[in-house]
Amino acid sequence: MLAVYRELEGSAQLLAHAIRRIGVLRVPPVAEELTRQIYFTGAAATGGIVLRGAFIGTLIIAYVIEVLNADAALAVKMLLWVVLREVGPLIAAVLVIQRSGTAVATELALREISGEVASLRRMRIDPQDYLVVPRVVGMAVSNAALTLYVQLIAVGGGMVLAALVINVPLAEMLNYFFVLASPLDLVYSLLKSLLFGAAIAVIACYHGLHPGSRSINAVPQAAIRAVTEALLAVMLLNVIFAYLVYGVAFFGLVTAQR
């Protein structure tokens, strides 16, 4: 219990530090770290997103129309609710945890064990400024960009593939899309994905910078703890967001008093 409290406190401190010291991104070496992080988390991950996004979009439309025997309007509504509000940010977050969360925890744990973090301190460079701030900002921004990408691919690709596979006119679906889509959904998912990215980053950084021992065995353990806790944090944040914004959580099992 004490360990959980310590980890939560440590991660919250790292997040507070990243917000307080965001100005350090103007320092050239930190700006370079930010660019690297955005490249590895955002740009290099886009390839994996395309197929997953398109498959999910098609699956939702095909399921709603073919299995539930619903019309195109309901299919598009489901697509918007599920993909824009929930699945888009979650898929991007899971991808970021799987690729960058593990990479950041492993890299920082290795740096800590090999003495690179101490070396930074000796150069009068705060390791949290140099290592944590660009990772938190880079992963938050990249996660938001990947979420937008998933949403575009899943909604757009889903509608196009559905029109080809299950014979629903594309124009009809597009029409419903523009009628039903709300800017609130986009703002909601953008805020959520920024927070997801930041949460994944601080958890990965915390475990990377606190590997538990100086042994090389501590590196995979740090990565495992980072992945497990980041997944848990993302799920928890998702429930909190859904409850705060739409008044429902756990797929409608919990509803707010209106």
Binding site: V27, G115, A118, S119, L120, M123, R124
Partner: protein, 182 residues
């Protein structure tokens, strides 16, 4: 008094080779500016345990380090490693630093400019120490602490590493060069 910790006492500028009983403890104390078991650590006449944070930062600025493995960041090439403290603390002087690095490489010899593009994993032990040495010199330290500059090197590289003290003293006549051997 320039440096005093346990059985080590250095009270005059110059080049010193010190054999200490627990080199690791000495390096940790100097690296972290924190003594073990409350043993007094004196640097430039100040007891480190009694100074304020600002004074500590001031002391850190006056000390340069050359760890035995170089202490380089593994994802940065030699030039990025060498220039990191300057790029971080005083980016405006980065232009002058490159000329200084070339001058030092010429002076010490044995490596060409291609070193600057190498990642630490591709460097030899001597190259890693040289990069750490140049990085330290660019900050003009009053005290340069070197961990076994020659250990683990072949005869030619050992001769070159032996010149670290001389080059430092030529550039900073009032400075103190301390090399610790185990």
């Amino acid at each position: 008094m320039i440096l005093a910790y346990r059985d080590v006492r250095i009270d005059a500028p110059g080049s010193h080779r010190v054999r200490c009983t627990d080199k690791e403890e000495m390096f940790t104390a100097l690296y972290e500016l924190e003594s073990r078991d409350g043993a007094p650590l004196v640097l430039f006449g100040c007891d480190v345990g009694k100074v304020s944070d600002a004074e500590r930062r001031g002391l850190m600025r006056r000390i340069g380090f050359v760890p035995a493995n170089g202490g380089l960041l593994s994802n940065l090439n030699a030039w990025e490693n060498i220039s990191l403290p300057i790029a971080y603390h005083a980016p405006q002087s980065l232009g002058g630093a490159l000329a200084e690095v070339h001058a030092l490489l010429n002076e010490l010899g044995g490596v060409d400019d291609a070193l600057l593009a190498k990642l630490p994993d591709d460097m030899t032990l001597y190259e890693r120490r040289l990069a750490a040495y140049i990085r330290a010199l660019l900050e003009a330290p009053d005290l340069l602490v070197v961990d076994d500059a020659e250990t683990g090197l072949g005869a030619t590289k050992r001769q070159r590493a032996a010149r670290f003290a001389e080059v430092y003293r030529t550039r900073f006549p009032g400075g103190t060069y301390v090399e610790f051997n185990g």
